[in-house]
Symmetry: C2
Subunit: 193 residues, 2 copies
């Protein structure tokens, strides 16, 4: 096998991302920004008490309905006994931390790749504080969602500490879940009759 | 077995919730609001590309570290091929919809129980729109998180339509995940050295 054949069969990867596809995607969006319009979806059904289950499969993006998933993802929400459940699953505010951790991680990995930074290790620890008096409507002055969320990231990469700090600040400003949390996003709840 | 014995062994349930425990919890918090201070946590580790994995187990609440979970919950984030992944899991912005669906559902079920409303069926469909130019830093004017999220709820319960509409408005105002999304919540990203 010649080197040329090897190069064709093994696209250049950085941080596990296909760099050719990444730059092609960026160029395609620059040519037609509407490619970047996405809609994500979930269906959920209540089971009992604090237990309910979501099904996630279809989404729209890059001008079409995605067809890549042959099976749906299924996730159960639950509550621990202290919150009237039986640990049927993690609870919704914990799933929000999982979403936030994943988005901050992927955003970091993506923008590191675009800058040519190779990441060796990346892990995060998240904690968020909440006063349940808000949920329970026991104190109108209590904030109802998380009061704050802290993300501590350990990262090893082939760049300077200054470049890492700049990358993390950029990540915080460009992570979709982080921005959905730290900026106000309108949510409508509509009853279907 | 006498009726009295049956009543002792089977606590009164409404919507799958132990009503005795619910009202005891409310009374306890009224007596000492610090019982309602909770901290939730997640740890996450990057695997490759858009794949990473969270572990969720411990949390703090009701004045102690929870000990109810013998095993951790583990969830994988992934990305579909159009977003440079291999569908290793749902993606973070989809997990956010799962968290939101679960929280709105549980908040509805809880406050319905507190009002004596019996729910027969409850399901939701969520969709959220996003312009990926924000994430990709291709257009500074593009919003970076969800532009908006719509929740459509189908609910059957033993009350009037007016009571249901009031309950849903109350849910939207008191769901912790809904409020984390629709109000600005500070998120810090700190590099651990």
């Amino acid at each position: 096998m010649t080197n040329q054949q090897t190069a064709k069969q093994q696209p250049i990867q950085l941080n596990g991302l296909n760099m050719e596809q990444l730059f092609q995607t960026l160029d395609a969006i620059k040519g037609d920004p509407s490619i970047a319009d996405f809609e994500f979806r979930a269906s959920n059904r209540w089971i009992s008490g604090g237990e309910n289950r979501s099904v996630i499969k279809e989404f729209y993006g890059a001008h079409c309905e995605d067809q890549s998933r042959t099976e749906a993802f299924v996730f159960s929400n639950g509550e621990p006994p202290v919150l009237l459940g039986n640990n049927e699953g993690a609870n919704p505010v914990e799933f929000l931390l999982h979403a936030l951790a994943g988005c901050v991680t992927t955003t970091t990995v993506l923008h590191a790749a675009a800058r040519g930074i190779r990441i060796q290790e990346l892990s995060t620890e998240l904690d968020g504080q909440m006063d349940l008096q808000g949920l329970l409507a026991l104190d109108d002055s209590a904030p109802i969602g998380y009061k704050q969320i802290r993300i501590r990231m350990s990262i090893k990469a082939d760049c300077s500490d200054e470049e890492l700090d700049e990358l993390l600040a950029f990540t915080r400003d460009h992570s979709p879940v982080c921005n959905t949390v730290c900026k106000p996003v309108p949510v409508t709840v509509e009853r279907v009759k």
